[in-house]
């Protein structure tokens, strides 16, 4: 049985790993160290025996507890490239600083979490044993917010400018965008389209990105009922402001998508 996580939920019960992670740990506990390490080293996510990063992290923490320094260093060397991989595939060309600076900062923040774990100051790595990639998204969000608070929300090239004098938005793209904005991202099956759309959303000014992002999660702009969560209430602004932001964002997104369609 893998050791239980220490971090507690707010009701006092400890967090638990998903069953597939638990069974991976059990399976790898049963084999010798050398075979375990060689299995960790498999680089491709597509490989059927690719060990989830949650599990690699578990054995890193355990190596530290057991005082297995050599093993710890080896697993560290396997884990860190995975951290970078998860960041490479998810950080678009960012407008704040250079993408490399942000990546370095996130990696450094992750190393701080490892350090605090080793010195028993914090057990936040528990979250990364539950869902590594999602916890990395949280860490990234937190670091990006700090960058923004220092650098401000700078848009060097206003996206709206791409749209002037451009051709009319094709009806297919417009329909796809509307389907997307109607609240169910799964409606768009084409991963290439999603990728372009999300990259474009990522480049929107922060206020517009928030509105589009919340719309995509199915949250209404406004509602008469007081207990309904709306974008206007979350962002604490007027419903007309939200609509304006949405309209500006849609113009910019359509322009980008149309440009993409021409290529």
């Amino acid at each position: 049985m893998p050791t239980a996580l220490k971090h507690k939920q707010r009701d006092g019960t400890p967090y638990r790993r998903p069953p597939n992670i638990e069974s991976w740990i059990e399976k790898l506990e049963a084999i010798d160290v050398a075979s375990r390490l060689s299995q960790f080293a498999r680089a491709s996510r597509k490989h059927s025996e690719y060990v989830p990063t949650e599990v690699v992290l578990h054995f890193l923490r355990r190596a530290w507890i057991d005082g297995e320094q050599g093993q710890f260093e080896k697993i560290f060397g396997i884990l860190l490239p995975r951290v970078e991989q998860s960041l490479r595939s998810t950080i678009w060309n960012s407008r704040i600083g250079s993408a490399t600076d942000i990546r370095d900062e996130i990696v450094s923040r992750f190393v701080v979490l490892i350090t605090k774990d080793c010195t028993s100051q914090s057990n936040r790595l528990d979250f990364f044993e539950i869902h590594f990639d999602q916890a990395m998204v949280a860490l990234r969000t937190s670091v990006l917010r700090k960058f923004k608070s220092i650098a401000g929300d700078i848009t060097t090239v206003p996206l709206g400018s791409l749209e002037s004098d451009g051709p009319e938005v094709s009806s297919e793209v417009e329909a796809a965008l509307e389907a997307f904005l109607s609240g169910d991202p799964q409606k768009i099956d084409d991963p290439a389209f999603r990728s372009v759309l999300f990259a474009a959303i990522d480049l929107l000014p922060q206020d517009q990105k928030q509105v589009i992002g919340l719309l995509l999660q199915g949250i209404p702009i406004d509602a008469k009922e007081k207990d309904v969560m709306t974008i206007a209430r979350i962002l604490q602004c007027d419903e007309r402001t939200v609509r304006n932001r949405r309209d500006r964002a849609c113009k910019a997104l359509k322009a980008v998508l149309e440009k993409e369609a021409e290529l």
Binding site: Q9, R10, Y15, A43, S44, R45, K46, E73, F76, G77, L80, P81, E84, Q85, R88, S89, T90, D104, V107, S108, V111, V112, I114, T115, C118, T119, R124, F127, I130, H131, D133, Q134, A135, V137, A138, L139, R140, T141, S142, L144, R145, P185, P191, R194, S195, F198, I201, D202, K209, Q210, G213, L214, L216, Q217, G218, I219, M229, I234, L235
Partner: protein, 197 residues
């Protein structure tokens, strides 16, 4: 409503949110109501998670040698300072006057005791009997003093008084070298050498 729960910082709230099994609007609403002070962060995180979920699980080629090396150095440096802050410095409470009178009682030069305190001497070469005497003077256990002397050398911050040598983190010297070069009188050198294990 949320007052019954301890306040969490932004990073922890986002981490907790990120590992929720689902990220629908109900989950977001729940977190927003519990942590209104982190509204902007939660909104940003919910958007990042949504966009992340639909990204393909691609293999990205990374050349990570430099990254791993840099991260490992950061880790080691952090652990080094964490360790030395965890291991209590038994000299920390001594005033300069107390420090000098301790040197006098041990019949060693101030410089020699400074080198002990600054961990400028390789702990493995320091005689056990000297460690025991230091411990008795410091009111600490011999093990605690050993642990301190064995942790990485550094310039002890917040402690200084005039000395003929410039303080610096230098390579450690052996006990023998320290005896030879610490402005000790011949009799003091003899006495120290007699303590060797």
């Amino acid at each position: 409503m949320s007052a019954e729960y301890p306040r969490l910082d932004e990073e922890e709230v986002l981490l907790a949110f990120s590992v929720e099994p689902t990220h629908d609007s109900a989950t977001l609403e729940h977190y927003l109501s519990q942590y209104p002070e982190h509204t902007q962060a939660l909104v940003d995180c919910s958007i990042e998670l949504m966009m992340n979920a639909s990204r393909a699980d691609e293999d990205v080629q990374v050349s990570s040698d430099q990254l791993v090396e840099q991260a490992w150095r950061q880790f080691q440096a952090a652990m080094g300072s964490a360790q030395s802050s965890v291991i209590a410095n038994p000299f920390a409470q001594l005033t300069p006057t107390a420090f000098k009178s301790m040197a006098k009682r041990l019949d060693i030069s101030n410089l020699f005791l400074i080198r002990v305190r600054e961990r400028a001497i390789d702990a493995a070469t320091i005689p056990r009997r000297l460690v025991q005497r230091l411990a008795a003077e410091l009111g600490a256990t011999a093990d605690a003093v050993s642990a301190y002397l064995g942790s990485p050398p550094s310039i002890a911050s917040g402690q200084s008084f005039r000395s003929n040598v410039k303080p610096a983190v230098a390579a450690q010297i052996s006990f023998e070298q320290a005896v030879e070069t610490s402005q000790l009188k011949p009799a003091q050198k003899e006495a120290l050498r007699a303590l060797r294990d």
